[in-house]
């Protein structure tokens, strides 16, 4: 099922992952792997289980799904770990929706809650580097989280994650609320980060934009992986071309 290169051990590997909401199966993924420095795009229609999937990998949710299955980070099983422990190990999620602490300034939002450990393939960004990456955040550093636009909140969420030394960065719909220019900039940033060795799992509804940067594309339908392959190949698949690229054109 997985198209990850067999020779390189995946950074993130999920096996038999299931998530159910009140008995309804939202996600059932036999195998999903992300290799070092790889960007994997997860696409699918609304309600296909994209968010549920990345949330399950992070052991996190604003709802109360019951999750089972194996999740390994660098070969270590993390599925029994609470969210904060996975975060500290470098499995970082930038969720969809609320990303900023509304009553804290941007500066305070971008202050690490713990001292991240630098390790294999983990690069810890400083606040100044985040400001260099997103100059807009620097301009807004004294503003409260509640005063930020949707796009600024996305930058804040990505910035906070980078400051925690990600090993795997999971982004849930980062293009929501961003102007097209900024979408391109964020995806460009993702490319640069991946080239530096960061593994990225990118949930995107904007399939066209996703295809620009991802190495591999996974198509979810009703919680199951129906396509998984190199971006060029999967992008040409009629199921993608008709249902997603056609609809988005």
């Amino acid at each position: 099922m997985s198209a990850a290169p067999d020779t390189i051990a995946p950074v993130l590997h999920a096996r038999g992952l299931q998530a159910t909401y009140a008995g309804n199966r939202a996600v059932e993924v036999e195998s999903l792997a992300v290799a070092p420095g790889e960007i994997v795009g997860v696409v699918g229609a609304n309600g296909a289980g994209k968010s549920t999937l990345v949330n399950a990998l992070a052991g996190w949710s604003r709802g109360a799904p019951s999750v089972s299955g194996e999740v390994s980070l660098d070969g270590r099983r993390v599925d029994a770990w609470p969210t904060h422990q996975r975060v500290r190990a470098g499995l970082l999620l930038v969720p969809e929706g609320r990303l900023a602490f509304a009553r804290m300034s941007v500066e305070e939002n971008l202050t690490a809650a713990f001292a991240p450990q630098s390790g294999r393939g983990r690069r810890i960004y400083t606040r100044d580097e985040i400001y260099a990456l997103f100059p807009r955040l620097h301009e807004r550093r004294g503003h409260l989280g509640s005063q930020l636009s949707g796009g600024e909140r996305q930058m804040l969420g990505i910035g906070r994650a980078l400051m925690m030394g990600p090993r795997v960065l999971m982004l849930d719909e980062p293009s929501i609320g961003l102007a097209p220019m900024l979408v391109a900039q964020v995806l460009e940033t993702m490319r640069t980060l991946a080239q530096a060795g960061l593994s990225i799992l990118l949930v995107e509804q904007n399939v066209r934009a996703a295809l620009e940067v991802v190495d591999r594309l996974v198509l979810l339908e009703r919680g199951r992986v129906v396509l998984d392959g190199p971006a060029g190949q999967v992008g040409a698949d009629p199921r993608i071309a008709q249902a997603y690229l056609g609809a988005n054109a």
């Binding site: 969210t83 904060h84 975060v87 500290r88 970082l92 969720p95 009553r103 804290m104 809650a113």
Partner: protein, 291 residues
């Protein structure tokens, strides 16, 4: 005139006592969105442990209060352990019933252990008076005022100016997002409940010497604390201080000028009026979260 100033002094002391009793609950509400209707009985427990440590163990008052605080913190941790699931689910109805239950169990056990007679907790300060002309208060009263100010200022400083405080504010605002920032939210909840237990026991050790202590006194305490916490604007530290002191002065003056029998009823009338006019309490506009 002298009587009025004396009542004002009484009110200030009473008000700082209200505020000091309420501080643990204020933090609890601000951070974990939890109510604790066992708060009054935890106050009672703190008073009795202080009294027991002095009268039976023969400890000095200065050692008895920290002992009561340690017991309060442990009790708070045990409560949170039992309610952890409900806390994460923000199941307020369960939490209300459970804390009410804890309170009554505590009251029953205390009645069995300590009996139903009122006890007096004497301290080195409560028997010494400060007299200025015709005006009068005890050194214990003065210590309550100082302690309340110090505890409020310290809590405000910790929340606004330290790393721990920042983590607590993050959990207060969005516990789910705090998890993704690498915070062990469960530990913060435990810490807040331990603080609640220790703080109310400290308040009891300071304030209980003013009146005879009874195992049944928790109910009155929980009601007045609830008024202070709601008045101050849910979870607001500064708001609770202002509300506590204001309520104390109001109660003292109302009691002296109108009738002490109707003080609670009058306090609730004012509370209802304030909540109608300013739904967020005194710190409306910034009522959510801890400040």
């Amino acid at each position: 005139m002298v009587n009025l100033i004396q009542q004002l002094i009484n009110g200030i002391v009473l008000g700082h006592a209200y505020a000091l009793v309420a501080i643990g609950w204020t933090l609890l509400l601000g951070v974990a969105r939890l109510v604790n209707f066992g708060h009054g009985q935890m106050y009672m427990l703190g008073a009795f442990i202080s009294w027991w440590a002095v009268s039976d163990l023969g400890l000095p008052y200065w050692a008895a209060v920290p002992l009561a605080m340690a017991a309060g913190a442990l009790f708070g941790l045990a409560m949170q352990r039992i309610m952890l699931r409900a806390t994460f689910e923000q199941n307020l109805v369960s939490i209300m019933i459970m804390t009410l239950g804890f309170g009554y169990v505590l009251q029953g056990v205390a009645a069995l252990v300590f009996g139903s007679t009122g006890q007096i907790l004497d301290t080195p300060l409560s028997q010494r008076d400060i007299e200025i002309g015709d005006l009068w208060l005890t050194w214990q009263d003065a210590a309550i005022v100082v302690a309340a100010i110090v505890v409020f200022a310290a809590l405000k400083w910790v929340l606004d100016g330290t790393r721990i405080g920042r983590l607590v504010r993050m959990v207060a605002e969005d516990p789910k997002l705090a998890q993704l920032a690498g915070i062990d939210v469960r530990r913060v909840y435990y810490g807040v409940f331990a603080f609640e237990g220790a703080a109310v026991a400290f308040a009891a050790g300071m304030i209980a010497p003013r009146t005879p202590i009874l195992t049944s006194m928790g109910f009155e305490e929980v009601i007045m604390t609830f008024v202070v916490v709601v008045f101050g604007g849910i979870g607001s530290i500064a708001g609770s201080y202002v509300a506590g002191v204001g309520l104390g002065i109001f109660a003292a003056l109302f009691g002296a000028l109108v009738s002490p029998a109707y003080t609670s009823a009058a306090a609730f009338l004012v509370l209802i009026a304030v909540l109608v006019l300013r739904p967020g309490g005194l710190s409306a506009g910034a009522a959510k979260g801890v400040h």
